[in-house]
């Protein structure tokens, strides 16, 4: 068992080596740390915005998505959506929103683990955080598409507005509304986290790969 464990977590850095090259070993840890903090902060910032523009709303309507809730004019947009038979936005991705904070905390811990693991398995631990921005968008697209394509056929305007796929980035339109969707600061922090992890792995590999190679070379000697 210790053999498998040490294979998984990779070689430890000898004390002398650590002292001699503190920067080399602290760099990946620091970058991962920064990435984790950014991801944590992103919980409090909007991930996605949509502005809806129509003549009778001179100030526009706004929809803002955080990882765990929807904000701004959700009620009014839901009210309008009922005319075309779209289900209330709160029903979209409800499970995702309910669990998002826990998932981010889990990712936070996993990335922390990745800094501790000095083998290539570290990548596996960090993978969810790296993939998170992509998964977020894909999930949102899935829900918007599902909601847009499954309009209630009994709705007041069902004959006027056919099922459609809402535009989740950039300019779109429905009825008299023009929509402008953009990503928010929270999303960019998640992306930055993702990018930092990738960069961190460069330094991670640079620091620990040689140790691993050496331990592999040393291993037969030790056991024989």
């Amino acid at each position: 068992m210790p053999g498998i464990l040490s294979t998984l977590i990779g070689p430890r850095v000898p004390e002398a080596e650590l002292r001699a090259h503190r920067l080399r070993y602290s760099t990946p840890t620091a970058i991962f740390m920064l990435a984790r903090v950014l991801l944590l902060i992103s919980i409090f910032l909007p991930y996605w915005h949509m502005e809806l523009e129509a003549p009778q709303y001179p100030k526009g309507l706004f929809l803002t998505a955080y990882v765990n809730h929807l904000a701004d004019d959700v009620k009014e947009i839901d009210g309008l959506n009922h005319y075309i038979g779209m289900r209330p936005l709160g029903e979209a991705g409800a499970l995702e929103r309910a669990t998002a904070v826990y998932m981010i905390l889990a990712m936070f811990l996993l990335v922390e683990g990745a800094a501790f693991v000095h083998s290539k398995w570290a990548v596996l631990l960090a993978l969810p955080a790296v993939a998170f921005p992509g998964v977020f968008l894909a999930d949102m697209y899935y829900w918007m598409r599902t909601f847009g394509l499954n309009l209630d056929k009994e709705a007041p305007l069902s004959s006027a507005v056919k099922p459609f796929v809402p535009t989740i980035l950039g300019e779109g339109g429905i009825g008299q509304f023009k929509t402008y969707a953009t990503l928010g600061w929270g999303y960019w922090l998640a992306v930055a986290c993702s990018a930092l992890i990738v960069i961190g792995f460069y330094f991670h590999r640079r620091a620990y790969r040689p140790l691993l190679l050496r331990s592999r070379l040393a291993a037969p000697e030790a056991t024989s």
Partner: protein
């Protein structure tokens, strides 16, 4: 063994490209999205300074010549025109006269913003149309008799330290001696109090500098407490009065229990004004008919108009309300019709009331912004008479009396209290002030607004000689009150003045024999003799009297109610308000409770069935939170119409005493499917009601 830390070049390139691709991937959509984003745009385009080219000047000249406009007209248009979406700088709250309402008008555009129903049921606002138990109609009853109109005269904005604070508006009903409180968060009447002493009044509403009290002066003397007496008993039994209504700002209501009145001689008390700064703690009321003429033209007596104008002077009433409040709190008031009244004898003994002679039959008394002078307009005298509060205080102190009236009230020596008399012209009525040391007085007979200079500490604000007429601007016609921007406060704003001209004669297209009033905007922005009229607003909805003009940004109005289920009467969330998903119809014996919600574009439920003779309590909550998404609710034939603004909860109670099938519908065009926002109210005839009436409480569940 040495550890090899050098990464092979191949690997380094791989990592570097991986990192940069990731970065690019994330930044590219951001850059493109930024150009598309239009978030948080401001509501309107910024106005840039313009320059008029020769060609454009030609265009303007052509339009002007085609429309027969001169340069002054063009300038007036430029001063008052409001592009769509631009908001006015001031709001004029005007009494609505016999309409019983209040009107709000934007200044300088002079656009009517809206009416506020006060003493008259008004169907658009759903004011007085919520069934037989309507609280408005209950409040409008006088001695059990519905009195469904009022003669609104003098609006009074609530003040803090002598400045309008934009929170409340009070208005008096001359015909029925009532006072109303309007909450300026939702621009709606919250309370109406009826004066228990007198049937009609005139001098309401004037507030003290911190709105401790709202002053309601009387007018036509009667027997206090709605009593009876013959004309021969006039001097003995008829009395005037002034009531001080205590205002509870936290509750937003008149505190009747802590209000009191002063009995006054049966002179006809007229307009009032509260002192401020130098004269804080005092208020002033004009009077006429100190002759105590009791009329009777049919008996060969001189008519009131002559009898009440015989003497050369009437009395300015000078009342120390802080002392009066002490006397009231010390229990020196005696109840009349259950309302505490300080008798004339007590007022004299306590030194609460003094008179000063004033030129005959005056109309307005107006205190200057610094509180040092009281300006009395003579009506039948070409002067305004200016009194000094310092001199008044000194004369009272020194007992400089010229005599006492028949009721023992001391009359201060005129020359000891007078500061100056300024000759302005014929028929001076009311005075307002600006920020440049000028006073403005309406001249009814001259049909003009007079600008004149104040003296004392105001003399340094202008270059003209103090206490002197500067100029007169003709107005069309017969000006009554006038209202300058915050022109009766401690800090007038100048710039605008509205002349409330009583006759419009030839100013507008003929509208039959009943003509609109003419509200004329006067530009008082420049000192000196230039003071042009820049706009005429025909107001064909009643004959307004006074108005007050407040800076628009002082008003903190709600655009929607703060919470869904809001009761505007209590200004709080109502526990009875129907919730979304919990709609339905409940029966308790022969009482049916309808719990309904309204949202674009449907009511829930859409069918309500009751039996003929049932009492129906119909509760509606608007689930809307969007500005202007107001719904109406009417039941034809049942005299019911409600205005359900976003978030509002309303209740109406009525007897379903007419069988039939009644469509109910939304009366405010709310959405594209507004016409579909309806339902049916089924009142089952009595004949077959027996079979259908459930014995016990039942609930119809709301349609999903």
């Amino acid at each position: 063994m040495r550890i090899q830390h050098r990464v092979p070049l191949r690997n380094r390139i791989l990592w570097a490209s991986l990192a940069s691709i990731t970065t690019l991937l994330v930044l590219a959509p951001e850059a493109s999205a930024q150009t598309e984003s239009r978030r948080r745009r401001s509501g309107q385009a910024e106005a840039k300074p313009i320059e008029i080219t020769t060609e454009q000047a030609g265009q303007i000249a052509k339009i002007a010549n085609d429309r027969k406009l001169n340069l002054d007209d063009l300038l007036a248009a430029a001063k008052t025109f409001m592009p769509s979406g631009r908001h006015d700088d001031f709001v004029l709250f005007s009494s609505g006269g016999q309409s019983g309402q209040v009107f709000a008008i934007g200044v300088p555009s002079m656009r009517i913003l809206r009416s506020i129903a006060v003493f008259t049921p008004e169907s658009w606002q759903g004011y007085g149309f919520s069934g037989e138990e309507d609280p408005v109609n209950k409040q409008l009853e006088i001695n059990g008799k519905p009195v469904l109109w009022g003669d609104t005269h003098h609006p009074g904005l609530s003040e803090t330290k002598g400045e309008y604070d934009g929170q409340f508006l009070f208005i008096g009903d001359k015909a029925n001696a009532r006072l109303a409180v309007i909450d300026l968060r939702d621009w709606a009447t919250k309370q109406i109090v009826k004066n228990p002493l007198t049937i009609s009044d005139h001098g309401a509403a004037f507030v003290t500098p911190d709105t401790d009290y709202v002053i309601e002066g009387g007018q036509y003397a009667t027997v206090l407490g709605y009593g009876y007496a013959t004309p021969e008993e006039y001097k003995k039994s008829y009395r005037g009065m002034v009531t001080l209504w205590k205002f509870d700002r936290a509750k937003g209501r008149i505190d009747v229990a802590n209000s009191f009145a002063l009995e006054l001689p049966p002179y006809w008390q007229d307009l009032a004004d509260a002192g401020k700064l130098a004269s804080d703690g005092w208020f002033f009321i004009n009077s006429f008919n100190v002759e105590m003429a009791s009329g009777g033209v049919e008996r060969g007596n001189p008519p009131f108009e002559a009898g009440a104008s015989k003497r050369d002077t009437d009395y300015l009433h000078i009342i120390n309300w802080k002392k009066a409040e002490q006397a009231f709190k010390a229990g020196k008031a005696k109840p009349i019709n259950g309302f505490p009244v300080i008798s004339i004898e007590t007022s004299v003994a306590e030194g609460l009331l003094h008179f000063a002679p004033e030129p005959k039959s005056p109309h307005g008394v107006d205190v200057t912004p610094n509180g040092q002078y009281m300006v009395v307009a003579g009506k039948l005298d070409p002067h305004v008479t200016v009194y000094s509060i310092e001199k008044v205080k000194k004369a009272i102190n020194d007992k400089k009396y010229s005599g006492k009236d028949d009721y023992g009230v001391p009359i201060l020596d005129f020359d000891s209290v007078k500061e100056v008399q300024v000759e302005l012209g014929l028929g001076p009525l009311h005075t307002q002030f600006d920020d440049k040391g000028y006073a403005y007085t309406s001249l009814f007979l001259d049909s003009a607004v007079a600008r004149w200079t104040l003296g004392g500490e105001y003399a340094k604000l202008h270059t003209e000689e103090p206490w002197k007429l500067v100029t007169k601007t003709p107005v069309q016609y017969n000006i009554g009150h006038l209202s300058a921007a915050e022109g009766d406060t401690v800090s007038p704003k100048g710039r605008y003045l509205v002349s409330m001209s009583k006759w419009s004669v030839d100013r507008f297209l003929t509208t039959g024999p009943l003509l609109p009033q003419n509200f004329q905007l006067v530009d008082i922005g420049e000192p000196g003799t230039k003071m042009p009229v820049t706009y005429d607003l025909p107001l064909g909805v009643g004959e307004p009297h006074y108005a007050q003009m407040i800076k628009a940004d002082k008003l903190k109005s709600w655009s929607v109610f703060p919470q869904i289920g809001w009761n505007a009467e209590t200004q709080s969330l109502d526990p009875n308000s129907p919730k979304k998903g919990a709609e339905g119809v409940t029966r308790e014996g022969n009482k049916v409770i309808v719990n309904m919600t309204a949202i674009r574009s449907h009511f829930t439920p859409e069918h309500v069935e009751v039996n003929e003779g049932d009492t129906v309590v119909w509760r509606i909550t608007s689930l809307e939170t969007t500005v202007d998404a107001t719904h109406g609710f009417c039941i034809g034939g049942y005299n019911i119409n409600l205005s359900i603004e976003p978030g509002r909860y309303l209740e109406c109670t009525f007897k379903a005493d007419r069988a039939g099938t009644y469509p109910f519908y939304c009366t405010e065009f709310c959405s594209a499917l507004h016409l579909e926002m309806m339902g049916y109210f089924h009142v089952k005839p009595k004949a077959d009601a027996g079979n259908a009436t459930p014995a016990k409480t039942t609930t119809q569940s709301a349609p999903k």
